[in-house]
Every structure is written in C-alpha cells, then in structure tokens.
C-alpha cells in the first residue's frame, strides 16, 4: 500500500542516497587524486609532454574544480573517460561490467537465500537432532571460511580432481569464456560467493523459525488438522521471513564485497575486477566511476530491502 508517509519516506531515502553518493565520490576523488604517480607513468612521458597530457584531461586543475566537472558529468550520466585506455568512455564500460557483476551477484543471491532458508527451516524443524547440528555447523563454517578458500577448493575439486578422474569428460572451464559466462561457468563462482552469506541466513532463519513455531497460532493451525508441511511453509515461514529480510541489506553488501575477490579469482569481467585493475593502472576516473556505481547500488539495494519489508510484514509502515 502506497501511502503519503511511504512516499515521503522514499523521498528521504533518495535524498540520503544522493548525499551519500556525493560524499563518497568526493572522498574517493580526493583520495585517488592525491596519490603519487599518474596514469601516464607507463607511457614514459615526462616534462612538457606530460604537462600537455595532464592539461588535456583537466588533471592540472585544483581538485574541487575537477570534482565539480565530474559532478556536472554525473548528472548527465557521464563518468568521464578512461586514462589508461585513452579516451574510452567510462559509462558504457562500467554499465556493461555492472551487468556482468549483477548476473553473478543475482546468482549468488539465489544460492544464498535458497541454501540459507532451506537449511534454516530444516535445522529448526529438526531442532537438537543431528540434522540441526550438521546444518548449523555448515552455517558457521560458511561465514568463517573466506570466499577465496571456497573458490579455490571448488577449482581444485571440480577443475582438477573430477576432471582428471573422468579423463576430461567432466570439464570445468575456468577462465570465463564470453562476456557473460554460461550456466556451467557461472555455477562455481556463484556458489563460492553465496556460501559465505548463506551461513548468516541459516542462523537467522533457524532462530526466527524456532521463535515462530512456539507461538499459539501455529498450535492452532496444527490443531485444526493442517499438514505439517503446510503449517511450516505457509504459516511459520512467512512470519519467520521478517527478521530474515532485515539482514538482506547486509547480505547484498557482503555479496558485492565478495564479488571483488571472486571476479579476480575466476577472471570474470565485472565491476570488481575493473576496480582492482583501475587502482593498479592509476586509472583514477574508472576508480571513481566504479565507486560511484557501487554507492548507488548499495543505496538502492538497501531501499529495496526496506520496501520489501513492508510487503512481507504489513504492520511495518513508514
């Protein structure tokens, strides 16, 4: 239900997002522009030639002036040009990489939510049995083991051992072949990325389910003769999802963070890989652009989660 209050709330949040993006992009702008060295180091240009290049890209102006022209471009959706691959417009590049990252992140989110909620419900339903201990154990392992360890083990098992055992019949192609990987190529990075956050979701789902299962309306539902499956899935899980939704925001952020690592391991041409490369290449404009996109992304992800909250639990109004 869209009330006036909701609209005002959304408006406030949008203002906060814009404010965050401005502060963050300025912070990153100031940081990268005060770094020693520049994008032209590898070209071995010095003296006069370097001055001309710096002037050409407006890099000889004071930082506030440069930032103002960046903001003016941002309003038009223009993030400037790359300094490493000279004059390559950043916006299309970053948007394409965003779509690759979004695909990976979306797949990881499906893995996370699927695994987390299934494990959490199973653990709660079989509380204090070996199923519970096993699944909560897996959850702790999940959020303790770094994603690059999971990724490396995956490469070792699927890329090497299974490949050797099956004499090449099972083949996990490791570097991503196209811009967007195939489903087979996507699976391992998505699982490596999603496994970490699934641990948290298992934990929260289990606790929420245990809380809900003890309530009177569940006893009523059972008493009127409903099947166990329906009671759990339709009556209990729906209410247990409310606290689960509350950690979806941090989950999305942690998937975005993790994707930087995973993309670099698997050679996936997404935002995270670009970010690391741009730093090593002193390609400041790209660094700032990627950061800006991330800030927007996280802002909107959090806003979406908060709005989904109101759908799942109508008692919550803004």
């Amino acid at each position: 239900m869209v009330t006036r209050g909701t609209l005002i709330y959304i408006g406030q949040r949008l203002v906060l997002i814009v404010f965050t993006v401005i502060v963050v992009s300025f912070g990153v702008f100031a940081v990268v522009h005060s770094l020693p060295g520049n994008a032209f180091v590898s070209d071995r240009v010095h003296g006069r030639a370097l001055q001309i290049l710096l002037h050409q890209y407006g890099l000889d102006q004071p930082i506030p002036v440069q930032y103002w022209s960046f903001l003016k471009g941002l309003v038009h959706g223009n993030l400037g040009v790359s300094l490493y691959i000279r004059d390559l417009p950043i916006t299309p590049l970053v948007l394409r990489e965003l779509s690759v990252s979004a695909m990976l992140g979306g797949a990881a989110l499906i893995v996370t939510i699927g695994l987390g909620i299934t494990f959490g419900v199973l653990a709660a339903v079989r509380q204090n049995t070996w199923v519970d201990y096993l699944l909560t154990g897996i959850a702790v392992v999940g959020y303790s083991v770094p994603s690059f360890v999971i990724a490396s083990l995956g490469i070792l098992i699927f890329g090497q051992w299974l490949n050797n055992l099956s004499h090449g019949a099972f083949f996990y192609p490791e570097p991503w072949t196209g811009t967007y990987g195939t489903l087979a190529e996507l699976s391992l990075p998505a699982i490596a990325l999603g496994f970490y956050t699934s641990g948290q979701i298992t934990r929260i789902t289990r606790a929420a389910m245990l809380d809900v299962i003890g309530q009177d309306y569940i006893r009523t539902a059972r008493a009127k003769g409903l099947q166990d499956r329906i009671v759990i899935l339709r009556h209990a899980l729906r209410n247990a999802l409310v606290p689960v939704t509350s950690i979806l925001g941090p989950t999305v952020i942690s998937i975005i963070t993790g994707s930087v690592i995973i993309e670099n391991i698997f050679g996936i041409p997404g935002l995270g890989k670009e970010f690391v490369e741009s730093i090593f290449q002193h390609d400041y404009n790209v660094t700032v652009g990627v950061f800006t996109i991330y800030a927007f992304l996280i802002g909107f992800a959090n806003l979406t989660v908060d709005l989904v909250y109101t759908v799942i639990d109508p008692r919550i109004r803004y």
């Binding site: 906060l16 997002i17 404010f19 965050t20 502060v23 963050v24 990153v28 940081v31 990268v32 005060s34 770094l35 702790v140 392992v141 959020y143 303790s144 083991v145 770094p146 690059f148 360890v149 490396s152 083990l153 490469i155 070792l156 890329g159 090497q160 490791e174 934990r203 606790a207 952020i253 975005i256 963070t257 930087v260 690592i261 670099n264 391991i265 970010f275 690391v276 730093i279 090593f280 660094t287 990627v290 950061f291 991330y294 800030a295 996280i298 802002g299 959090n302």
Partner: protein, 302 residues
C-alpha cells in the same frame, strides 16, 4: 539482634540450598567453561598465540630465504608442508604469517573498541544534533562496500601493516558505534543515571563512569567479533595484492601466491595451508565469540 536469629541457610545432605553469590564475571566464566566448543576454540587460539610468539624468535628455516629447497617441493620430512614457488619453506612462512593475522585482528579490535564506543556513547547520550551528525556518518559508511574503502585507504596511506590496520578499522567501526549508541540511548533513561545527574555528576562522568560499565557486556562481545572480521578483511586485501609489502609472509598473500600453481594443477599445497590456517582461525574466533556471547550477554538472541 544477630544473636537471636539463626543463620538463614537450609541444610541438606551436606550442602546448602541458598546459592552462593556470584559476580557477573565469575558466572560468565563458569558458563563459558561449560561450552566445549568455545573451550576448544580458546585452546586453539592459545596455541596460535604460542606459535606466533615462537615464530618471532625461531622458525625451522628462514621464512624469506629464496631457493631454500626445490620450488614446488611437495611435503616431505625435511619440509613438512612443502615449498612454495620461490623455494621457500611453507611451514616457516605459515608460522610467521600468523603474526600479521593476529596483529591485524587484535589491533583493529582495540581501535574499533576505542573509537566506536566513544563515538557511539556520545551520540546516544547527547542525542540531538551530535547524534544526527554521527548517525549520518555511520549511514554514509554503511553505503559503501567496506573492502573497497579499505583498498582506497590502503593505497592512499601506502603499503604497511599499520596502514592495513587503519584502513580496516575505518570500515568496521560502525557496528560498534551503533551498538554503543543503542546502549547509551536505553541506559541514559534509567533511574541511576537520573540519580547521578541530580547528584551533580558531569556528562563525562555519567557517560564513562555510569553508562559504559553497564554497557560493557555486549560491547566486549561485539569486540570479539571484530577480530575475525578484521582478519578476514585483511586476508581479502592481501589476497588482492594490497597487503604487507613482500617478502613478509601473511596468510592472504600466501594463498594468492599459491593460486596459480593450484589452477595450473601441479601443487595445491601452497594455497591449501594458509587457506586452512585462515579458516580454522576464523572458525575458532567465531566459536569463541559465540561462547562469550552466550556466557556474558544472555539477553542477546542468537
């Protein structure tokens, strides 16, 4: 009239029914000791600290000695964990690597404890404009991926262990600040704070003398969870190549050095050892933190 009244204890089978008075801390330690998993984790962590201290003075071989043994040597009697791509002894490097992880974890926890608690308590106690400003800062920091901020700060500050710690602290202080703020908001309304205020106590005394001690349980528990997060973030940083300057060994960097030989399919061990050390250490810190929370902060839900 004490002589007229008997001791108010009830005797039964040689014991007393009235339970002895136990302080919060002793009660907590008792509960912690009953938690086998947390105890095992604590023992592992003590061993880790021992290894770390030993590695400061002694390692089987010089950890940075290149060409110490054949490159990609598999585990053998002389080199129990094998050798890396430059022929350095993996066991020695693994031992030395614990220094970076422990230093980053503990130092970050202390910095976050100091900054987060002060900022959070001030926001929660003074409310109003101060709180608005601090909360806005917290929200802005929540709006950026922590790893990227850490990378940017690290690149700005330059490669060193201290700068890794600073960069990570800057990205994980918010949870602590938010917790301390929430505690201060609720505790400041209690009667004993009102009593202190009417007694003429100044703000500083109320915040740090009265509110802080009462919020200490959850704050300490939160601090123990900062340690694994900091170690994990440091491992991510060093894995991406933003780490302590080589040749200093650290687990994240060792794992990243081992990745090509694992992907090439000829020596998975270079990566597996630091990966295992990291995973077990993080698990231990998480188990220990869970145990600590159950013991000292019973109100908080899992």
């Amino acid at each position: 009239m004490a002589t007229l009244l008997p001791e108010p204890t009830v005797e039964y089978a040689g014991g007393t029914l009235a339970s002895e008075q136990v302080s919060l801390w002793r009660d907590g330690v008792r509960r912690l000791r009953r938690n086998k998993l947390a105890l095992a984790a604590a023992i592992y962590l003590m061993l880790l600290v021992l290894v770390c201290v030993v590695s400061l003075f002694w390692t089987p071989y010089k950890p940075n000695l290149v060409g110490n043994c054949p490159t990609y040597d598999l585990p053998s009697a002389a080199h129990p964990l094998g050798c890396d791509d430059l022929g350095r002894d993996s066991l020695s490097r693994l031992m030395v690597g614990s220094q970076v992880s422990l230093a980053v974890g503990l130092a970050t926890a202390f910095i976050v404890l100091a900054i987060g608690v002060v900022v959070g308590l001030i926001a929660g106690y003074f409310r109003g404009v101060v709180d608005g400003f601090i909360s806005l800062a917290i929200n802005i920091f929540y709006g950026v991926p922590p790893l990227l901020v850490a990378v940017a700060l690290y690149v700005l500050l330059g490669p060193s262990l201290i700068n890794i710690i600073i960069a990570i602290s800057a990205t994980v202080w918010m949870d602590m600040a938010r917790l301390a703020r929430g505690q201060a908001l609720s505790i400041r309304e209690r009667e004993f704070i009102e009593a202190a205020r009417s007694g003429g106590a100044r703000a500083g005394r109320i915040v740090f003398g009265h509110i802080l001690p009462n919020a200490l349980g959850p704050i300490i528990v939160q601090a123990t969870f900062v340690i694994p997060v900091a170690i994990l973030t440091a491992a991510f940083l060093t894995f991406l190549g933003f780490g302590v300057p080589p040749p200093t060994a650290d687990w994240g960097g060792m794992a990243s050095e081992g990745l090509p030989s694992l992907q090439g399919g000829f020596d998975p061990y270079i990566l597996l050892w630091p990966a295992m050390a990291l995973s077990v250490t993080l698990l231990a810190f998480n188990f220990f933190g869970d145990g600590l929370r159950d013991a000292f902060d019973p109100r908080q839900k899992r």
